[in-house]
Symmetry: C2
Subunit: 442 residues, 2 copies
């Protein structure tokens, strides 16, 4: 950081990676430099861009002299104040972030996979270097959710978070619900529109949402959680039939990421789970369509607060990165960063509540032989396990003599429900494995 002629501070930004997000950051920095100066008093300049693949810079509008193919030329440049890591993946991003911190740079990143798996190591390195890592862009793209939880809700004890954190799966579910597309067709459409990767596994299995949930939970509960703490189910086993039946019952299917504080004896700690869930159509999260993301936060003072917006994309992500750059340049980042206690070694971690101890309502779809006494037997087994039925629908018999029975349960313990299900599936009249979806936001 140096001062220019008029006494204003100049901050120089180096970007590692000129892919979609990197080019967005360069664009926003170049286009909004005058307005950022007016709004913040800070002169933030794009100084260097490292990108191995020169072809990616073909349409870049910045002076080609800013380009280098060597990330270390950015990291080691003494005039660079802030390093933006938008390479993605674990390596070499991890090494570069550590080197940048060691060189005294602020680091800003959108890399949730890196932070969810190596966050503690990197945050500790930042603290040791008296620097900071900005990660607003790592969750919910352009929605300023990290800042909101850290600063805007600072007076609150966070009781729960419930979010739609993955745009790709939300797009797929929206197409299935609104157009009756099959999972496979909706996935293909998401791929053709560039919303899903050629290998969509990280999205559709819930892994990406789990990464983001770990970051939000760390921040909200001031405790460090790991990816392995999150019970993760994807949408890849959801059938169109269940999406339709649930819709008839007034519910919308979403892939929810839930973190919830529990205080009852025997189940103290935090629930961490990503799974498909049915929510009532009038619920604020139900109107989150297509690639949009949203997070519903419950604080003890504010009650329910929701944040909604585009969870990914070039400019929304760049918007969050530039907000972090401004925060670092203002000096606020280093102040607040040292107080993010979750990654500090001596801090006792909150226990994770096992899935068996989660309370939920359930939608369950049984395929059974259509004969007298079946319904009674189902109800009896559920009752024995203290799973109480809220509503029940029997669908018309199929050509093969099977019927679908759809049951919505009242709230019950996951372990009770699972035991009941296991017993039911062993019954002779049950023809196919039953399918269940949790109901409610936890």
């Amino acid at each position: 950081m140096i001062e220019n002629d008029s006494g204003k501070k100049i901050f120089r930004v180096g970007i590692l990676g000129y892919g979609t997000v990197g080019s967005g950051v360069a664009q926003v920095l170049l286009e909004s430099r005058p307005t950022l100066k007016e709004k913040t008093g800070l002169d933030i300049r794009l100084h260097k861009i490292a990108e191995k693949d020169e072809a990616k810079l073909k349409e870049a509008r910045f002076d080609r002299s800013l380009w280098t193919d060597d990330a270390r030329k950015v990291i080691q440049d003494p005039s660079v104040d802030i390093v933006v890591e938008v390479i993605g993946g674990i390596e070499p991003a991890r090494t570069f972030v550590k080197e940048a911190l060691a060189a005294g740079k602020f680091v800003v990143t959108a890399n949730k996979a890196l932070l969810a798996t190596h966050g503690q190591e990197l945050f500790e390195a930042a603290l040791a270097a008296h620097s900071a890592i900005g990660f607003e862009a790592s969750v919910c793209g352009g929605v300023p959710i990290i800042g909101a939880i850290r600063d805007g809700l600072v007076a609150n004890r966070i009781d729960s978070l419930c979010g739609i954190l993955n745009g790709t799966t939300n797009y797929i579910l929206t197409r299935m619900l609104e157009e009756g597309a099959s999972y496979a067709d909706a996935l293909k459409e998401a791929q053709s529109r560039g919303y899903a990767e050629a290998n969509p596994a990280l999205d559709v299995t819930g892994g990406d949402a789990a990464h983001k949930l770990v970051l939000l939970a760390n921040l909200s509960f001031h405790s460090i959680f790991h990816l392995s703490d999150v019970h993760t189910e994807g949408i890849d086993k959801i059938s169109l039939e269940d999406v339709r039946y649930a819709s008839e019952l007034g519910y919308t299917l979403k892939l929810l990421a839930i973190a919830r504080r529990r205080e009852e004896k025997g189940a103290e700690g935090v629930e961490l789970r990503v799974h498909p869930a049915l929510i009532p159509r009038a619920h604020p999260l139900a109107s989150v369509r297509d690639v949009f993301n949203a997070v519903l936060v419950r604080g003890d003072a504010t009650g329910e607060v929701m944040f909604y917006g585009r969870g990914a994309g070039k400019l929304p992500t760049a918007s969050a990165i530039v907000a972090d750059i401004v925060d670092a340049a203002r000096g606020s980042a280093s102040q607040t960063f040292t107080k993010l206690q979750f990654f500090q070694k001596d801090r006792p971690a909150l226990p994770v509540v096992p899935m068996a101890q989660v309370q939920s309502r359930y939608y369950v779809h049984f395929r059974v032989t259509d004969r007298p006494g079946v319904m009674g037997k189902l109800a009896a087994v559920l009752g024995e396990h203290e799973v109480s039925i809220a509503s029940l629908i029997q669908k018309d018999q199929q050509a093969n003599g099977e019927v679908s029975i759809i049951i919505l349960t009242h709230q019950t313990l996951e372990e009770r429900f699972r035991r009941a299900l296991k017993e039911i599936e062993a019954l002779p009249f049950v023809r196919q494995p039953s399918r269940f979806i949790r109901v409610g936001e936890g």
Copy 2:
């Protein structure tokens, strides 16, 4: 500000007014002092409370020695760092805020009426005193919308804002839509629940929403606007019949506060309006029910971002006030405040686009004599004024020979629509003044 034994900073807070919000601030400060210290490193202490009416302190749990009946004892106390103004109304709040600023205190307030009418004077006074005014609590209670626009969306040019900014009217409209309550009954229910004042005029006429819109627009467009710049219509003339017809058409009625940048030749500037509007049921703002508030912000980089939560109430408002206290104690407030340029005298103000130049779709309800040729004449007059019909419903004839004709128009200029309406109302077969509601979020 002084340092305590362990080198930590101590910040002393004085509160002016111990009503609902004041008692909430006291409660949050007392209860969350240890966690705030842990989260921020700051020791924020409740130091003095001024309240004329001692009876209000009956259930207060703080040491009675903190109490004074003289606001000036708080303002002039040299050990008070931050003055929280939660008296409400214009005077004496305005005088106290000015005195507190002159005495070198930071001021935090939830008083939108004061800031919307005397904001420029007070903000200039804060600047002159090298102090700052925090006003997060003045819009949308516990939702950190001010911080989000100022910091989280700093990289964006804001193109529009559209919000449900008044909880009382939203509660009334929710009861009308969901339970078929009349306006009068819904208002009574809101009053009995304590959501509406005995004199509900400021809420139901749209005045309160207009106050908040002025603050959001000032912040978003970096230009100073005044209450008189806002075209304001309330919900007091809305009929249950229209709420029902609109619902049949798939729309939900909301009182929207809209600020929108316009750049077309002849209509450059900002639209500022508060009025009832019909939005499609799948729209994110449609699921904002009861006393909840929400603001949809469109930034050039983020696209649509929405913030949702309780717009009022003791603890949500206290949450926002304490966030501002932390911001001031951290030193961030003084940094960002000096850059809020909207109230600086030399700054050219953006023009306000007159209502005649607003583009909208319209729902219009005509009551006409049921005779041949009526429909044709209506359509012809609308057509002459370039108002094009998107859909039309004729309701059954009533005993008095009248029929209701409901027309949804395509987008048109307000002045064209108004001219067409005037001409139609002069026609002999039109039996009652027509009623119209704008459609869409502008």
